[in-house]
Amino acid sequence: MKLTKKSAALALTGMLMPLFAGTAQAAVTGVAFVHGTGDHRGDAVDYWGQDFIDSVRSGLPNSGNYTVIRCDFSQYMWDSGASGCLAQQLTDFINTKGITDLVVQTHSNGGNVMRWILSNPTWDSRYPNIIAKIRWVNALAPSSLGTPLADATMNGTIFEQSLGWLLGYKSDAVRQQQQSWMASYNANNLYGTGGRPALPKGFWNVVGTDVETAIWDGDSYCGGYHLNLGLEITQAWLDSCSDGFLNCSSQSGAGTTWFSDKSRMAGGEPLSHNQSRKKCFGLDTILRDDL
């Protein structure tokens, strides 16, 4: 699969890949961690877990070349607080560290914000340089086609211009991740989904297919047992193949599926939506080796 990723990257970007520029100046590789829905300006490291971050970045030639993105992804993906914040932090990271070869790890809605940048290179003068530096994006459980849970959360809510959200959940990011909303954005504002032009860089999905919540099974505790327990009831709103938050079809709805959890995780374990951003079942090792 690794070879496939590299081959695809070569085909997509031709001679631009510093990864293969063996005779040219050595690439400076860096890794960025891009969180999912919500305002994580204050807790982005906890979102991933320091142990996960440290394990992944240890695969870099210079393990200091990493950044943990801290933005407000409760906003629409195009908002300056979301993609604008992401673009600025990636730009600062690229410039400060001299990064020429960037691997981006996204989780959940972070994949949509990253895909916004990849799909709209002329939206913002910071975008072209970011895209040029990206080797590929590893999209961990991306919500590319939205989720029925966002539909259920937003159903029945009413927006009053003078008062704001009268009823229900008050997050534009959740509103955006309704299935019909993502279908519209995928058709008109984003690339990489079926029948639409490909993205300028590889977008490789890791798909979580199930949630285990057996109290006697220690594996259920990775990522937090109570969090996984919460996903058990949310699974009832989803397809039989889901990670407790997203249907598998959404996770594989844009870009290319790199692998599904049970095919690569230690012991054939599934990755719940909480576990696909934590040091569970060897995910960190796979991402480390991918650098």
């Binding site: 002329t122 259920a152 690339y191 009832a236 709103w237």
Partner: protein, 409 residues
């Protein structure tokens, strides 16, 4: 829409012998699948005020099967209703059509109220289910139950309680009742979702995207298995991102489907986001549905006279397209370019994008790099297959034109 697109794929325009450093004028074919007369009545704050002109192209996988845009199909196996604490104290009637229905309850804040969602949660342990005169509680009533914000991603539980009716209770009419008094005047939103139900409300707009000045169309159907059902009544509305509501006049056709048309003559939305179609059918078991539709104000329009030039071998071809704008803003033009493979088959070659700040009349210039066009072994002649004009300052697709315009040297 597919039929319309076919009729809009107009004849080829061959350019005989475009020499290096030559400039040729091209004409866009008549007809658009998405366009309307310019309008500048948009009060939305600018979403993007980037002023730098930017352009970028990238190669596409030649084996990609690119498809014409199609409107999304929405379907619902559930409904929502608004109720009060008083009704839940007394017993709220809920109709179901399949075992194992899922319930979600969240309290609604009054305007200006700042109570924490947690303080308003309904505890599933305090709810009971009545089937006829028989009362069920705990696991006998609900096979699964949880409440509260467990995690930012667990949306079902964000400020809400969720339950699955024990499948052993079957389906049909239930009463949901609070065993401890809830505040009588408090409003609650109750959702019923029936994953196993065969009763489905489906809806589809006539297009995936509209601009003001066009007429929106909608088709909806309530069915069980493959059979179209007659709902007792149906209501529909178009909801604007800024909260305005426009009722749809639904009419049943001979096949039993609901149809509606609504001229999009209203003023543009003053808040960003998509518009939504909302449908509600009543009957033995109700259904409600919402589905997004992109509606933009036509703040810009492509001119008809294009200029194609190539400066020198290896230099990019430049396609200059005039644009008329009704409002100052940042506008983006994208083009899908096809090339021919060794067998002479047309394949996707590249996507090209160019954006700039425009006021009044201006132009956008697409730069088509030969190295990108040829990257995957595709050969000239190349052809433009689709142009899209997007208002990046108000995030709206304002024009889309399918064409087949040959670019030959």
């Amino acid at each position: 829409m597919k039929h319309l697109l076919n009729t809009l794929s107009l004849g080829l325009m061959l350019l005989p012998g475009l020499a290096l450093s030559d400039t040729r004028s091209l004409s866009l074919p008549e007809g658009n699948d998405l366009a309307a007369e310019l309008r500048g009545d948009v009060a939305m704050p600018l979403l993007n005020d980037e002023r730098a002109p930017l352009s970028m192209s990238w190669a596409l996988p030649p084996d990609q099967d690119l498809q014409a845009p199609a409107p999304a199909k929405a379907e619902s196996r559930g409904y929502w209703l608004e109720t009060t604490g008083e009704a839940l104290n007394r017993g709220l009637n809920l109709a179901t059509s399949a075992p194992g229905a899922l319930l979600r309850i969240n309290a609604l804040a009054a305007p200006g109220e700042r109570a924490s969602p947690e303080s308003l949660l309904v505890d599933p342990a305090r709810l009971e289910l009545l089937v006829g005169q028989t009362r069920y509680q705990g696991r006998e009533a609900f096979a699964l139950a949880a409440r509260g914000e467990v995690d930012a991603d667990s949306l079902i539980l964000a400020g809400a309680s969720a339950m699955r009716i024990n499948p052993a209770r079957g389906f049909g009419p239930f009463q949901l009742r609070s065993r401890e008094p809830l505040p009588a005047a408090r409003r609650y939103l109750v959702q019923v979702h029936e994953p196993a139900s065969r009763l489905v409300l489906r809806a589809q707009a006539g297009s995936d995207a509209y601009v003001h000045g066009q007429t929106l169309s909608l088709s909806a159907e309530l069915s069980q298995d493959a059979k179209t059902l007659a709902a007792k009544s149906a209501q529909g509305a178009l909801l604007a991102p800024d909260g305005r509501r426009f009722d749809l006049k639904l009419e049943r056709d001979a096949a039993g489907r609901w149809q509606a048309k609504l001229p999009l003559g209203m003023s543009a939305a003053s808040a960003p986001g998509l518009w939504e179609l909302e449908l509600r059918t009543t009957g033995l078991v109700p259904r409600t549905l919402r589905s997004a539709v992109a509606i933009a104000s036509p703040t810009a329009r492509l001119g008809k006279e294009l200029r194609l030039s190539s400066a020198a071998a290896g230099e990019p071809w430049r396609l200059s397209v005039p644009v008329r704008t009704a409002l100052p803003g940042r506008y983006e033009l994208t083009a899908l370019v096809y090339g021919q493979d060794a067998a002479g088959q047309w394949r996707p070659a590249a996507l090209s994008s160019s954006a700039a700040w425009l006021e009044g009349r201006g132009e956008l210039v697409l730069k088509l790099e030969p190295s990108v066009l040829q990257q995957n072994g595709l050969r000239p002649p190349y052809a433009l297959r689709e142009l899209r004009l997007t208002d990046q300052s108000r995030l709206g697709l304002v024009q889309r034109q399918h064409l087949d315009l040959k670019l030959e040297q």
